[in-house]
Symmetry: C2
Subunit: 355 residues, 2 copies
DNA sequence: TCACTCTATCGAATCGATTCGATGATCGTT
DNA sequence: AACGATCATCGAATCGATTCGATAGAGTGA
């Protein structure tokens, strides 16, 4: 084989007897090159097995690598067991892939949420997407600012130089809560997503609540209280069915008089867990207890029930993020975007049981 | 602000009154630089807001970008609704992240499975992982070969220059089938993963079977037949619960005399669908019909049943892939790896009903 | 035939770092 | 005091392409 050394643009140019700059023109698809020359260069490339200009060298000049980072708060298994995260990234790639831009996963691990500087520093990045709501004091943010890497954040963290894409979490949850209130519910418990990623679960104290890390978690809690006033929050350690079930068992395994008549989970995944808990405790839904979620994801294993939830356009959110990235790559500064949500009433909420 | 122009190594060196080469030594953490000089350079960098050497320029010299591509056959939403894919990538990142190497998603879309050349050609890649079993005639493969990008493939596609990581699909399925045979099952149906990604579902003809695209699908079918001889295959369009349910409804909604006494699904996800179908048809598992899967993934919503399945060490498989990539990056050529599987008997298989 | 306009091609600078062989300073030894 | 060894620092070449201003040659019109 002739694998002495991989051919470069210069090799190809020499073989085609043109200047490297001309060969470059050919590969960049320029019009200003004679068809005969173009063919000669292409033929030379084919003979040498040249695969096209080296992406790295190209990036150096063009200041563009075709790589956009996706910051994932946790380990992939946790993050991607959440259909919301997956759908979101799906929307992002749908927009970016045709542009030849790829998504680079930047997951955290069990301890840290978010990538280490070692992960960030060595990798070329045209932009970064905070795919799941990130904390506002992420040290990676500072590094990215220095490198002047544009940032798009879903649901947070915020910042002057960060483009935000979100939904009205508070208003959506309030609407859902109003639906419950109209059904007569007054004793409502909230099963919350993690307030911080430190593995804590259980009832949320006022002081912990003051230190909530994630905007969406805070807003969704406030939405409930806008309608009903202060309600108890039960924090989960991760967004997982099993965590929701665990919370549900604690909240529901009490005398009927103390039991909440409705449980608002901050995600559909958690709500699914609460449903399981109710089932295992022999409680009927919605006769004994109503359950609601947030997100509107498709859980093919959930039927026959249809979850009452706040539907957010997750894939579209991803597309909007993708378009925002496109704008940033073009040097423009897109405006923040807030997409709409709507209440979807299913079969898991009904009139509050009489006291 | 002093955002005239982003500082480079040369700027920093000038400010610290040293040569660029010396400044480079400082950032590469070399020992051979006087502490005083180091401090001066670091101070200059801090004053200028220099974030460290540009990854792209560094890559150009070092021939290493810190980016490894992950080829995903389908859209992310489909691929990542499969816990196997997610766990696998989780294992890969677990090994690669600490090395400062990131995973770049290269998904296909509805039509094509696998990334386009446009996606591949513009992006720097040190190596590529075929995360889900890819077809053997993928045009992207040819491009990657030309670029001399090392490839690790999970379960396929094969090739001289491709490092393979897999499990004994055939033997594992055979072991499972023997378990069923020992329980008296003779009429067994197989719910197969897609043989090709063209959306086909239904009974598999001999000619279609001859053109199966994926090694693991073929092997798992053969494993059943090693024990029982020819069995009917029912193909699904995607690896999804709903697809499994659809297949299950067709296969099981017949008179008891014609009904298979056991269904072997080629994935746990499909098996979960078959279980749902059985439930909706009023069939008891395992009294009326036994159901088995493959993978051994954790489906938190599946309890109280425990699926009989062939457990493969998916996360470990990912780690092995990660290590193989590490070897390749170091210029070595690791050997192919075959990890072990084992049968896990749950509550979904039992003695065949008497005829 | 001469000046002039196009247009295809070329040369050289540039992107931002790394790397290695060369250089000069410092120190110890005899 | 002179010489060699050691060590920190420097210069220059290099990685592989892109880009823009320069140039030569073909084509047009008078």
């Amino acid at each position: 084989m002739s694998d002495r050394t991989r051919p470069t643009l210069a090799t190809v140019a020499a073989r085609a007897e043109v200047a490297p700059s001309t060969a470059s023109l050919v590969f960049s698809g320029s019009e200003r090159v004679a068809p005969a020359t173009r063919d000669r260069v292409l033929a030379a490339a084919a003979e040498l097995g040249y695969a096209g200009p080296d992406p790295v060298a190209r990036s150096l000049r063009s200041r563009r690598s075709g790589v956009v980072g996706a910051v994932i708060g946790e380990r992939l298994t946790y993050a991607f067991s959440d259909p919301v995260a997956v759908q979101l990234l799906d929307g992002v790639t749908e927009v970016l892939s045709p542009l030849g831009v790829g998504l680079l996963l930047l997951p955290g691990d069990a301890d840290r949420h978010g990538p280490t500087l070692a992960q960030l520093a060595h990798v070329p990045l045209d932009a970064v997407v905070y795919a799941t709501c990130g904390p506002e004091d992420d040290p990676a943010l500072e590094h990215l600012r220095r490198r002047e890497v544009p940032i798009v954040a879903v649901d947070g963290p915020g910042g002057d130089d960060v483009v935000l894409v979100g939904v009205p979490d508070r208003r959506g949850t309030a609407e859902l809560t109003r639906h419950l209130a109209d059904l007569g519910h007054r004793r409502v418990a909230v099963v919350a997503l993690p307030l911080r990623l430190d593995g804590t679960r259980g009832p949320v104290t006022a002081e912990r609540r003051a230190r909530v890390h994630f905007r969406d978690v805070r807003e969704r809690a406030l939405g409930v209280e806008d309608v009903l006033g202060p309600v108890p929050l039960w924090e989960t350690a991760t967004n997982a069915v099993e965590e929701g079930a665990r919370a549900g068992r604690v909240l529901l395994d009490v005398s009927a008089a103390d039991r909440p008549t409705a449980v608002v989970a901050q995600s559909d995944i958690l709500a699914a867990g609460v449903l399981r808990a109710a089932e295992s405790l022999g409680l009927r839904v919605p006769e004994d207890v109503s359950v609601a979620g947030f997100d509107g994801v498709d859980l093919p294993w959930l039927p026959p029930v249809r979850l009452t939830t706040v539907v957010q356009p997750t894939t579209e959110k991803g597309r909007v993020v993708g378009r925002a990235v496109t704008e940033l790559l073009a040097g423009r500064r897109p405006a923040d975007a807030v997409l709409d949500v709507h209440l979807s009433v299913g079969t898991t909420t009904g009139p509050a049981p009489r006291a």
